[in-house]
Symmetry: C2
Subunit: 402 residues, 2 copies
């Protein structure tokens, strides 16, 4: 018989309230200063997190809620992206992602070697610079109501490919770090799985949904369509992690699958409600991981240079295949692909754990992820300043985005 009462309810509710309110308040202040809300929301995490005020020390529960929040940010973005439109830009997106991985790796590696670093450490720092984390950009594009533009589709498509490449880079460096060498066979299997997953989700899954539609609309459960969509979202998020990809990529695919029926089934406001509730915990969590104090002197210089390289290299790499489309496209896609996140942190952590990466080098990677994450939204907003759709004025409830 269960003999534990849920303890700490009071603590949990207070933390949820404080995080939700400060995140949203700083977001609102940023909006009033004509800045995007996202860096404000991250700032809330930096301020209240364990390394500054320490009001929110963080817990497994909060971190789990943050992860579910990230999943819903991408699920919402997927719901607004038609698979057909994504397929149409897929060749371009593939080129963008490949060069967007190669250029940051080369530049990062070269700089660390020039600073006199060992080759293995330079490889780890460079590897941490390759993978784009699409959550920040997806939310920023959604806030500006430009998710349906071709540029947004190229960014989202490239982010999917980028995740596959990031997974491969992680597998290679982790294999190298383990001392057993790289398991090429295992790696090919992983790649095959990821590619099959992406192809299945883009080409076949939407057809299955079309076939099953009449059945779904007959189910007697309340909100049958929403329930099925949520179940698929959880399933694909898990499956993505299972085959070595990021959970959010699975969630994005799940959204994509239902995108064509999202208006008919009224999914966007309802999923948007969930995202509005859970996403702030994700952005707060990003900020709460940042400790500014360890970065001083020489280390700070290196961190700043690596951050600048991380920014420039994505613009160069992702921009190259788009040069003939003009500068606005180059810059928008490059900056949209700029934020780094979990994959970078995981690469760095594998390095630390296998004693290849020093703690200072780990600090550099963390600063780079926070810097790219905070800088991207305002630049994106500037680059999209002409396309931003103003929210409907007055009392009409605006369509829910995130």
């Amino acid at each position: 018989m269960e003999t534990t009462v849920p303890t700490g309810t009071e603590q949990l509710l207070l933390e949820l309230f404080v995080i939700f309110v400060t995140t949203k308040m700083l977001g609102e202040i940023f909006e009033r200063l004509s800045l995007p809300a996202v860096p404000g929301e991250i700032l809330a995490g930096i301020i209240l997190g364990p390394y500054a005020l320490g009001w929110i020390p963080g817990s497994d529960t909060l971190r789990s809620v943050a992860q579910i929040g990230a999943i819903f940010v991408l699920f919402s973005a997927g719901l607004e992206t038609s698979p057909r439109d994504l397929i149409r830009v897929s060749r371009k997106a593939l080129l963008v992602s490949v060069l967007g991985v190669v250029v940051p790796f080369v530049l990062g590696f070269a700089y660390m070697k020039l600073r006199g670093d060992t080759t293995v450490e330079a490889v780890f720092v460079a590897a941490a610079m390759v993978a784009t984390s699409i959550g920040i950009t997806a939310r920023t594009l959604a806030d500006m109501h430009v998710l349906s533009t071709r540029t947004a589709r190229i960014i989202l498509g490239a982010a999917v490919f980028d995740d596959v490449l990031g997974m491969l880079v992680l597998a290679v460096v982790a294999g190298a770090a383990s001392g057993n060498g790289v398991a090429w066979l295992h790696l090919s299997v992983l790649t095959g799985e990821a590619v099959a997953f992406a192809l299945f989700m883009m080409f076949i899954a939407p057809r299955i949904v079309r076939q099953l539609r009449p059945k779904m609309e007959q189910m007697s459960t309340q909100n049958a369509s929403l329930v099925v969509a949520l179940a698929i979202c959880l399933l694909l998020s898990w499956l993505a992690v299972k085959i070595g990809m990021a959970a959010i990529v699975g969630a994005f695919f799940a959204g994509l699958t239902f995108a064509d029926y999202a208006p008919r089934w009224n999914l966007i406001p309802r999923v948007g409600g969930i995202t509005a509730f859970l996403a702030p915990f994700f952005f707060f969590d990003i900020g709460s991981r940042f400790n500014a104090r360890v970065l001083t002197g020489n280390l700070l210089t290196m961190a700043v240079v690596i951050s600048l390289l991380a920014i420039i290299s994505k613009v160069i790499g992702c921009g190259l295949p788009l040069l003939h489309e003009g500068w606005p496209m180059v810059l928008r896609v490059g900056i949209g692909m700029m934020p780094r996140g979990e994959v970078a942190l995981i690469v760095a952590l594998v390095g630390v754990q296998s004693k290849i990466l020093s703690q200072p080098a780990y600090g550099i990677v963390v600063l780079m992820t926070v810097a790219t994450t905070i800088i991207a939204p305002p630049i994106l907003r500037y680059l999209f300043r002409r396309e931003i759709k103003l929210r409907p004025a007055g009392n009409v409830p605006a369509p829910v985005r995130l």
Copy 2:
């Protein structure tokens, strides 16, 4: 610098998926058998929980998600209840709740004494029988689309008073159990706080919202109205716990505060989306706490009798003040007030921890909570069979309830 990566993402996502899908599938099967979904959802927890198949051993995170789910069940119910309508039935609801507390206590105490129990143990079992847990009924009424009936309002109003009384009973027995006697002064303060809270939320808070409305509709944050409503929901849930009440009562009050503006701000589908996602974890959690194996022989008889008394006593107690309104009203309110939940379990747990209540007596209380929780929805459905509004047929998305 944060050096832990969120581990167990794969495990968490798999558990969320399995819980969500089995809960919803059993709910769907029950619906097809013309039963309410809730007992099916609870059954999922019994089957997969630690005492049967053991697939979902349970974790702090899952329990926290379940608690947040319960909060949203009541927040949604509050959003559909106008404070004015609740005030109109409040005298009646107060009578219903007082007699609905007194009668179960007397019957439970008498039976346990007749079985030869000690007085203190009899008091604890009796005390566990008094407090209604409104989550189950709120969801069942919402599923039937009868939340706006006068009967539903009496039930919800009585449940609020019932929670105040339940808190007092808990404080009295906990004080008695601590050996320090009952701290009457502290108890009066608690009561005063709870009454002030309830009065403030019903009479004053809705006016404040009316005053602040123009400001809220000017905010530039995406979904300003939803964000404010969610923040208030978290704040009041915390505050309710803080002053000794159940979190879900705070959430219900929060919903009440925004009920008059819920249509204008399009809150119901968006909050309903959150509830649809999180509520299944709450119902699953209820089921997962039940261990059928400890109840055998003599103990099972006692548990069944106590469960029957718990059922009958609420119908008698809650029904008495409504006799002149006819049998349908008596039965509907009595059965609606029947489910017991967290408060009963907490009372029992306090008893176990202070060594007043034996483990078998604890088992009896747990069976009573599960039995009343599973039995109430089908009876309610039968009693409301003429009022149930069928969901809109065909493709039109039904208004989101839970």
